[in-house]
């Protein structure tokens, strides 16, 4: 499955040395895993000439629970000049869910990082305004974590009986008699 490394992967491996933990290409997606402390450096290195990965297309995370390090923060970059995509990842342990903020490199990282904080509870250090963005401000927990259950919220409708999704609602009222 692993194909030969793309030039930008080789460049990062050489430039950051030990901080590049892993490089691979699965189904043609070039991926570089960088140590948490150096990930913003890596983003800055490839943003400028000659690589020009100047668009942060996406920034997200996923939870590897119960494995450790628990989280992976994923950056998808795009180079318009080279017509190429690059995925940079970094790993974040569950006992210390923090990562450096990329807002200084890409202004667009602002909302993405707020979303990751909101849904995964990863704190981005140096973020100007790390608040919840999708969930209500008084929400407890971070819903996209794997150990956050998928449940039904009680709502304030008249006659609504909260149920677990897989349960069948019991029929209310007397059974109809056949004439």
């Amino acid at each position: 499955m692993t194909t030969s490394l793309s030039p930008v992967q080789e460049f990062l491996a050489e430039r950051l040395g030990e901080a590049v933990l892993e490089t691979h290409g699965f189904r043609g997606d070039a991926t570089v895993v960088v140590a948490r402390e150096r990930v913003v450096d890596a983003l800055r290195e490839v943003r400028d000439e000659p690589w020009r990965f100047e668009v942060l297309v996406d920034l997200t995370a996923w939870d590897r629970y119960p494995a450790e390090p628990r989280f992976e923060v994923v950056y998808h970059l795009l180079s318009l000049k080279r017509r190429e995509r690059l995925r940079i990842k970094t790993r974040v342990p569950g006992h210390d869910p923090t990562a450096p903020s990329a807002v200084s490199v890409f202004a667009g990282a602002n909302w993405f990082e707020r979303e990751v904080w909101d849904l995964f509870g990863i704190r981005f250090q140096g973020h100007p305004n790390l608040t919840r963005i999708l969930m209500p401000d008084d929400w407890e927990g971070h819903p996209l974590r794997r150990d956050f259950p998928l449940t039904e919220e009680p709502v304030e409708f008249h006659g609504h009986v909260p149920k677990v999704p897989s349960q069948i609602v019991p029929r209310v009222g007397p059974a109809r008699e056949d004439p």
Binding site: M1, F26, R27, D29, T31, E54, V55, L56, V57, D58, T60, W62, D63, V74, H76, L80, R83, R85, R87, F106, A107, G108, N110, W111, L119, R132, I133, L134, M135, P136, P143, L144, R146, F148, L150
Partner: protein, 391 residues
């Protein structure tokens, strides 16, 4: 004597007719000039990404339709492409062409909604009626192939659910024949209309630098003069075989975005015509029985087909361990799916890269220093779908 300079904080939304959904803007005003703008989102958050982790790959097709509900075909295509990439499945040529055909019709329908709602925002209410009249024809075409006007659920992993019905092709041709005349009518009404131009020209300017920094894509990016289109840069579903132009603007104002979208509708028509002319024969679903259901006729003859059918219906597909990103050019920009698989029949993580989310993030940069009334134009010109922003 000097007057104290004070700013006024104005809450626009979440229920406001020109926010195109449930969007709240906290505006800081000095007189009528916008000093700062802070979008507040999340009112339509439905947790679709979480929901998808608990369903099989196939079941999720029904969910993705509901994200960017004005362009469900693009949504399905992006999701199916990501799963197909994960599985390493080839999609038959005919299915690829059908997908292109429906996506481009869907783009026209989506742009017509944008044009009509922009008209409402700028008090050209008759425009909405005209646009919805045309859009209705496309929804009827969608109903013809999938049985649904919106949320079609028509694409499958490895192809499409069924072949096109016989009456579909002539109906599309009839629509496409009339459509340019309609577009000319709208352009005659708007493009050189003094009021329309004054409301659009020089309004909500987005510089190239800001557009790139915020990760803006789609017509909003192309309006700022950057010719990035996923269909050209990373061709998918046979787009490299179609001839079409990518229109761009110069100034990055609302008027350029208007011109870009109007031209895109004409280009989409071109693509649909080419797809109709060159529609190849053959199957519309992959023959890989580990991915797609066997045809009905085979079930009565072959025990193996019954087993495949049973496994697919009860368990679904099992992609190998890995992670992929696949993107399409939706009417609003780059719509991408990042899927992580652990080898089981449910994804570990499905991330929806929403174009409207990034485009909306650039809104404060567009409206700062402008007039309050132009905020309405700015929102209309980035064509947001709040279901896409909040997911």
């Amino acid at each position: 004597m000097t007057l104290a300079r004070e700013t006024l904080t104005l809450n626009m939304g979440p229920q406001h007719p020109s926010t195109h959904g449930v969007l709240r803007l906290v505006l800081e005003l000095e007189g009528e000039v916008v000093v700062n703008c802070q979008p507040v989102i999340g009112y339509l958050h439905t947790g679709i990404e979480k929901e998808m982790e608990n369903r099989t790959y196939h079941q999720n097709i029904a969910l993705v339709d509901r994200i960017e509900y004005l362009s469900s075909y693009h949504e399905e295509l992006a999701y199916c492409m990501a799963v197909e990439k994960l599985l390493g499945v080839e999609v038959p040529k005919r299915a690829q062409y059908i997908r292109v055909l429906l996506c481009e019709l869907n783009r026209i329908a989506s742009h017509l909604v944008w044009l009509g709602t922009t008209g409402i925002d700028l008090n050209v209410s008759s425009l909405l009626m005209y646009c919805f009249r045309d859009r209705e024809r496309i929804l009827e075409l969608s109903e013809m192939v999938s049985g649904q006007r919106m949320m079609p659920g028509y694409f499958r992993i490895g192809g499409v659910a069924a072949d096109l019905p016989e009456e579909f092709t002539p109906a599309v041709r009839r629509f496409l024949e009339e459509f340019p005349r309609r577009l000319d009518e709208y352009e005659a009404m708007l493009t050189d209309n003094l009021i329309w131009r004054r409301r659009h020209e020089g309004v909500a300017v987005l510089s190239r630098e800001d557009a790139l920094a915020y990760g803006v894509t789609g017509p909003t990016l192309r309006g700022s003069g950057i010719p990035y289109d996923v269909r050209k840069a990373f061709p998918y579903s046979s787009y490299e075989e179609f001839e079409f132009d990518v229109p761009t603007g110069e100034h990055g104002d609302a008027y350029d975005r208007y011109r870009v979208r109007m031209e895109e509708m004409r280009q989409s028509r071109r693509i649909v015509l080419q797809a109709l002319d060159r529609l190849p024969d053959g199957p519309v679903l992959t023959a890989d029985r580990k991915v797609a259901l066997p045809p009905r006729a085979e079930l009565v003859r072959s025990m193996e087909a019954v087993i495949h059918q049973f496994k697919l219906v009860s368990e679904g597909v099992h992609p190998p361990k890995g992670e992929v990103y696949a993107a399409v050019e939706s009417p609003r920009g780059e719509k991408g799916y990042y899927i992580v698989s652990d080898g089981s029949n449910r994804p570990v993580r499905v991330r929806v890269r929403a174009p409207s989310f990034s485009n909306l993030q650039a809104l404060p940069a567009m409206v700062r220093g402008g007039m309050l009334a132009d905020v309405v134009v700015a929102i209309a010109s980035i064509d947001i779908v709040l279901g896409d922003v909040d997911r």
